[in-house]
Structure formats: C-alpha cells, structure tokens
C-alpha cells in the first residue's frame, strides 16, 4: 500500500511517501517560494529517489485547508487529478489537524493556528486520545479574543502550535496567562508523514465533488450575500 501525501496549505511545502506503515520518504521546505512551480518537481524528485512510479501508487492524501486559498487549491487540484487519472482513492485531511498532529505527545488540548489577519485566526480544538487525534471544536475562522474566551471555559492547559502563533503570542499570554503554552518554532510545523498517516484513517472522498475547505466565502460572495440581506 503506497500512499502519496501532499501539503501546500501554508509556506511549508510537504510531500511524503508511505509504504504500509513505513515512511519511505519525506520532502519539506519552509520557504516563501512559489508552490505552483515547485510541487510537481518535488513529487517527481521524491518518487524517483524512492523508486516509486506513479502507477505504483495506491492512494493520495491531501491537506484540504484551511490555509492560503491559492496554496490549498494547488494541492487539491494536483491530488484530485492524480487520484482521478490513476483511478485510486483520495482522502482529505484538515490542514489544522495536520498541524495539531505535530504535538502528538502532548496530553491536553491543542489549538493549531494559522493567521487570518485583522486579529483573526484559523483554528480548531484537538486532543490526542489513546494516540488518536480527535476533534473537540471544528475548524473555524474566529477572532483571537473570542477564541481565547472559549478556551478559558476549559479550565485546562492549551498548547498553541504553528509558526503563525508567534504573531499572536503576546495577546494569547495576556488573555489566557498560564493556561496557554505556546509553541511556534519549526518543531511545531506540519509533517507530511503525519499527513499520510492521518489520511489512512480518513474516509475516501467523492473525487469529482471534492474541494478545498476554505472556511470563508470569497469576499465578493460574502458582500453579495450581505447586500441581499440588506435589500430584503
């Protein structure tokens, strides 16, 4: 069972190859460089190095968002097209769940964070239970202030992970004090091998209708809906 996993939802570009339970290759860069140009060459390089041909693949896994709209779209387009044209199953994994998985050994709540600008974040609430990542609160786009007041109710320690957490470290400490642990270094980066493993547990998607989980509507659509409401 050979699995190819693709993550392009943030600046981190991650590709991994799994053979059964075994990780046979991983490719990670953490650069502000063009994903569109680099993803397919990265997949090609890794697969050649591992001597796996496209026809040998049994499954594709992709990080489906949230994240950079363009980034997620590139990953999902490649994953969909590969899976469809090779006639193999595809599974999507939340990009935030993938980030949360970097805190596998942490015993309490995990809040993976991508910055969403203007004081807002993409986040969700996760927790490892008997080694299995579980969702406590669904992925969402929320103001950091509202998110922290939600977390206060838990009255338990919360670990914030992700490189974007550093942008909000001051506010988090102010709002949650000692209840928050902040991990914003490279050790809390999404790992493509984790993506492949998480993908094995996810259901197979309906290929044609599979789209990124952007969480947010396109701005023009949101405005249009608001206008409709105002007019009625």
């Amino acid at each position: 069972m050979k699995v190819l996993a693709i993550d392009t939802s943030t600046y981190t570009l991650g590709i991994s190859l799994l053979d059964g339970e075994q990780v046979i290759g991983e490719y990670i860069t953490n650069l502000k460089k063009n994903h569109s140009l680099r993803v397919m060459p990265a997949i090609d390089t890794l697969m050649k190095e591992c001597e796996v041909k496209p026809a040998d693949l049994d499954k594709i896994v992709v990080a489906k968002g949230p994240g950079s709209y363009t980034g997620v779209r590139i990953g999902v387009t490649i994953a969909k097209t590969l899976a469809w044209s090779l006639n193999i199953p595809l599974s999507g994994v939340s990009s935030l769940a993938l980030l949360a998985a970097s805190a596998r050994l942490y015993p309490s709540y995990i809040s993976p964070v991508f910055d969403a600008r203007r004081g807002r974040v993409y986040t969700g609430l996760y927790r490892f239970e008997e080694g299995k990542l579980t969702v406590v609160d669904e992925d969402q786009n929320i103001s950091l202030i509202d998110w922290c007041s939600r977390l206060k109710e838990l009255k338990e320690e919360v670990l914030f992970v992700g490189q974007d957490v550093l942008l909000h470290e001051g506010s988090i400490r102010e709002l949650l004090g000692g209840q928050a642990l902040v991990r914003g270094d490279i050790f809390s980066a999404p790992r493509p091998a984790d993506l492949a493993r998480l993908g094995l547990e996810e259901p197979v998607v309906d290929l044609h209708s599979f789209v990124p989980n952007y969480i947010r509507l396109a701005e023009a659509e949101a405005k249009w809906l608001e206008q409709q409401k105002a007019d009625n």
């Binding site: 569109s36 779209r73 387009t77 469809w84 044209s85 396109a218 023009a220």
Partner: protein
C-alpha cells in the same frame, strides 16, 4: 505512414473550464466546455477568486467527460497541452497544475500554450493555414492584429493602447443598463437600431495598426449624459448601432489595410468578440471584394474560450519538440511573441 497525433488540451485561463482531444491539430475528437457565466452574472463580471474555486470543482469532471466522449484512455494520447497564460493567475494555476499532474501520472510530454495562439489556431480546426496569414484577435482582454509567416511564429503588428474592444463593449453595455456579459446584448440591439449618432473613430497616426477604444467609450457615455440633461429621448438601439459601427469600421479598415500591405493569403478572426454578428458581416463584405485573400471565421462555439484551440495550437509545439518540464507555471502577463 505517419502516426496520428492525439493531444489533450486544457484551458482554465478565465471563467470556462475546458478540455478537448484533437487529432493531428485539425480534427476535434472531443470538446467539453463548462461555463461559469451564470455564477458570475450577479457580480457584473468575473470574480477571480470565485472563478478559481469553480475550476477546482469542475476540472476532473470535464476531463472525464472529454475522455468519455473520445472513448479514449491516457495510453491513446501523445501529449498534454495547457494554457499557461495570459489570464487570471488563480484560474491559470488550476489548469497548469492539473496538466502537470496528468503528464506526470502518465509520463506524457507537457506543452504550454499561449491563450491567444489558441484562439488563432481555433481557425485551423476549420481550414488548413496558408502563410503568410493575418489574424484579427478581439476578445474581452485583447484587440490585436497578429501576422504569422509560419506555424508557431507570431508577430503583433497592431494592438490596443487602452481598452480592448471587448472591454469597451462591456462598459458601454453597463452604461445602457444591459446585463453582463454586455457584448452579445449590444450586438443584438445594434441589429435593431440605426447608426445615426456621430461617434469618433480612433484611426491614430498614419500607418499605425494600433487601436484605441477609450475615447469612443467616453463619447458614448457623454452622448447619453447630454441627452439625459436635455431631456431628449435617445434610443438604446441607435446608441448600440452607432457604437458598434464605430468599432467595426476601425477593426475592418485596419484589417483590410494590413492584409494588403503584408500580402497575406488568409485573414482569420479570433477571440470571443469574433462571435459578434455585426463584425462578421462587415468582414465578409469587405473581403468578398478581395478574391485572393481567404477569410476564415470560426463557428461561435470555437470563438469563445475552449480547449480544442489549445490542443490545436499545442500540436504545432509538439511537432516542433517544444516541451515544458514539471516546473512550468502560470503566467498572467505572457507575451505571444516570446
């Protein structure tokens, strides 16, 4: 016997998700276009982020329908061709990355096609090219006269200095409160009116094949504004007819002049505005008198964005051995002469 060449084309540069399979650059085996126009109507124009989202929704469906229509599998194909620019960057990236994934999965050569070269090659699906030829390209984003001496060589001898013809159509349509996309509505109204309003024609300097439509657009807006202030009734049909006449006069006159100067054998009409009935009729009338120049106008379905034209243009690049590697990107401002 020479082996037949089958190329799969992909086009996602704006708001159509399209795929097609073409044999030997000339014969359409399958041609599928999924249009998003209904979705963008409410915004009065194409919204780039929404267009990109639709492309991801449609891409594999359109590909599957194309292979199904052709009754083919990837092992029957010789290469994958895709629009690499110009266009909306987010939209281009969906097609480009899908094409790269297909080329990689089936170890097929990858070809990057200029969108306008595609529009020009839509004509080759009708009639074999005879060089030199001149192509009048008119679309929402382009108004160009392109000279071709041989396959794959494009020389822009005239282009718009401000608005593209299609843009001017859309703006005038908006001023007349016509729904998006405005072009076809103006064409329809123009057929019912008379060109009685005196509007300018921008000929520019002597000998120039460039175009300019922003002055004309402003003149239409001023005419409507003045009539409103003087409480004069002015028929929208007449405004449309006068505007269209001005655009067509300039386009056809410059095309005829260039066709004679460069002694071309063929004149091709290309791009979405090529669907305009008034423009088609005017060109047909002009070239009917020039017996040694053949005028080719593709059917409406091949004027608007499609992937058959991309596969047709891609076939020439295939024959010339011009391939891309997996690092190909989308190029929103790509130049056709490069």
């Amino acid at each position: 016997m020479k082996k037949d060449i089958y190329i799969l084309g992909l086009e996602t540069s704006c708001d159509e998700t399209a795929a097609a399979i073409i044999k030997n650059g000339r014969d359409i085996i399958a041609n599928v276009v999924s249009s998003q126009i209904e979705s963008h109507k409410r915004f009065g124009g194409v919204v780039p982020e929404i267009a990109s989202r639709h492309h991801v929704e449609q891409i594999t469906l359109v590909l599957e329908e194309t292979l199904h229509q052709a009754d083919m599998t990837f092992s029957d194909l010789d290469a994958i061709a895709v629009t690499k620019g110009p266009g909306l960057v987010g939209s281009l990236l969906v097609g480009v990355n899908a094409a790269k994934a297909l080329a990689f999965a089936h170890q097929l050569p990858l070809i990057g096609v200029h969108h306008i070269a595609g529009h020009i090659y839509a004509n080759r699906l009708m009639k074999e090219f005879a060089f030199p030829l001149l192509s009048l390209v008119v679309s929402g984003g382009h108004t160009e006269l392109v000279l071709m001496e041989e396959h794959g060589s494009f020389q822009v001898i005239g282009e718009t200095r401000d608005d593209a013809a299609g843009e001017a159509y859309d703006k005038v349509a908006r001023t007349l409160n016509l729904p998006y996309p405005g072009g076809p509505h103006i064409d329809r109204l123009a057929a019912q009116g008379q060109p009685v309003i005196d509007l300018p024609r921008a000929w520019l300097e002597e000998g120039s094949y460039d175009f300019s439509f922003s002055g004309l657009k402003s003149a239409v807006i001023n005419t409507l504004h003045n009539a409103e202030q003087r409480k004069q009734a002015i028929k929208a049909e007449d405004v449309a007819a006068s505007f269209q006449q001005s655009v067509i006069d300039v386009l056809t006159a410059k095309t005829v002049k260039a066709a004679k100067e460069y002694r071309v054998k063929q004149v091709l009409l290309a791009g979405g505005v090529a669907a305009n009935k008034g423009l088609r009729a005017a060109l047909e009338e002009q070239f009917a008198e020039l017996a040694d120049i053949e005028l080719i106008i593709p059917p409406l379905s091949l004027c608007t964005d499609n992937a058959a034209m991309i596969a047709a243009a891609g076939t020439v690049l295939y024959e010339q051995g011009k391939f891309e590697d997996l690092a190909m990107n989308g190029y929103p401002g790509l130049d056709i002469e490069q």
